[in-house]
Symmetry: D2
Subunit: 175 residues, 4 copies
């Protein structure tokens, strides 16, 4: 599913693991980002989403892709919601990329980033271009070949931001 | 791996979910038992062991197989060791068979049943015959075809206990 | 799908590869037989049926299972119907078990054994007990766990023929 | 494996199926080409290569990718080498993209295009850019994610030919 946002997005996080707790998406400026949105007890996340994100990291990290996790808990908060639980999960699954914890002030079941970005659930793969704009949202199981192509399409765009600057066959735009 | 024990085995449990907390293996006397030994954060358990146990339940329950889980935590006790965590896991994975919690008095990392039965880790599949004797221990990923055959071999044994009573080509035994 | 035939079946063959051209099922008397019915250009046969038959051979040959192929061509006879084509196929796929060529006198599209046994198409797995009786017919993709159990059920039957002789809980039969 | 050829390549063909017998690669000028090099009795081709090529066609045809087959027979010429055999294969596997038959004057086992391009065997995936240059050669099983990215990298290049014209960060080239 193609989703173009015209402005850079940000995450609302309460903490990070495998990285400084003050991390923000702007720290990765200029890179293409793949954000794996998951819950540690979500079967589809564990069976497909996490291994796929790890494979994307292995294949495209050298080409400029940064892979991040976003732990967006909307079920069983008491068990999944604690940082120690996520640390144990990341240790067992040998996940080395940074994982943000989606902020939840406790007023609703749905955490804030998940709500802001209108995500349908987990697993969801988000792809952001070098300018920090959300360009793809894949909910559920996405095919490896399709995801590989979507990643490369963003990696192949010029650093200045692709679609919005310069000329294509029809038009020339200012950024 | 074939493992024959000459006497019925028992589990040392601190609790059960999906069944009464006082459950013992003798409650299932006369049935063939498949016990899936797992940890909720063990990748191989979640990817292969649990789905395989659920498939065995679906295929052979009517033929007399009882499928049970045994949660034998030997890593990250603080996260995996609580009953609420296991309840959340069973809910997310839609596991309906009874799961025993392997007892751990806290003196060692390894819980008691895992130690008694000299298990090598998780996932492990245990198969018990109708007399309650441990007949197979499979550590790691076991092939579906091989497991189906091992289950059926025990289901096909006469209720009186198979190998130890009656006559085969060479000998006649008393039980 | 369970199919019990009360008498031993036979194959109508025009030739065999990986074995003498005079082979008949009675040569395997006393063994449980798995017969993989296939066509060399049938996608499901090549993707699932043949590899599954090879796995069954590897797992259960020592326990008394004999695996055979039956090449039942009902499409593209000019290409699939020649013995040299089947030999090339068996060489490329490294199939070492004997394969019968289902006889076709040329009057109809459907070869004779396929017609006699009322098979629905390819791939089909046939299981015969030690007395040569057809006990199971699986059309299409059959699950490994289910097939392993069906094979073992027949292997566990006494050589005299299982269901039709001796006593079970209700009755005692003469053969 | 990255392979850059500086000039457009051509195929040496004796015939085509699913297209005119006079087809040449120049007929697809301006498109990115994926050429699946296979033999109809090669197990890896049938299990992985052909389904992967069909998936690539389904995903990227609208974006400008043309998928072709190249039947490069180097074993069992008597069985695989005839056009009728290939037609039967394409019918059974429901392959609709054009397939070239690699020319073999009969002097050697290896057909001419396979020899010219120094291919290691089958399956091999060739990727050609819009200018007809061979840019990737993947021998054996290639991961879907990696292939999807390689396809998109070429699709994202400007029609004028990518690497050899215009400026990148370091240099400006004439074509």
């Amino acid at each position: 599913m193609q989703q173009t946002h015209s402005h850079p997005i940000s995450l609302k996080t309460s903490d990070w693991i495998n990285g400084p707790s003050t991390t923000t998406l702007s720290d990765f400026e200029g890179h293409v980002l793949l954000i794996e949105v998951f819950q540690m007890l979500c079967p589809g996340c564990v069976a497909h989403g996490i291994p796929q994100a790890m494979k994307a990291h292995a294949l495209f990290n050298k080409a400029g892709l940064i892979v991040l996790g976003l732990h967006s808990v909307f079920e069983h908060h008491d068990v999944q919601g604690k940082k120690e639980a996520l640390l144990a999960f990341a240790d067992e699954y040998k996940i080395q990329f940074p994982i943000a914890i989606d902020r939840n002030a406790g007023k609703t079941r749905i955490p804030e980033t998940m709500s802001d970005l209108q995500l349908q659930g987990t697993p969801t793969v988000l792809l952001l271009d070098r300018a920090g704009r959300l360009r793809h949202k894949f909910f559920g199981r996405v095919d490896d070949m399709e995801l590989g192509a979507a990643i490369m399409k963003l990696l192949a765009e010029p650093p200045s931001g692709g679609q919005q600057e310069g000329c294509d066959g029809d038009t020339c735009r200012v950024s």
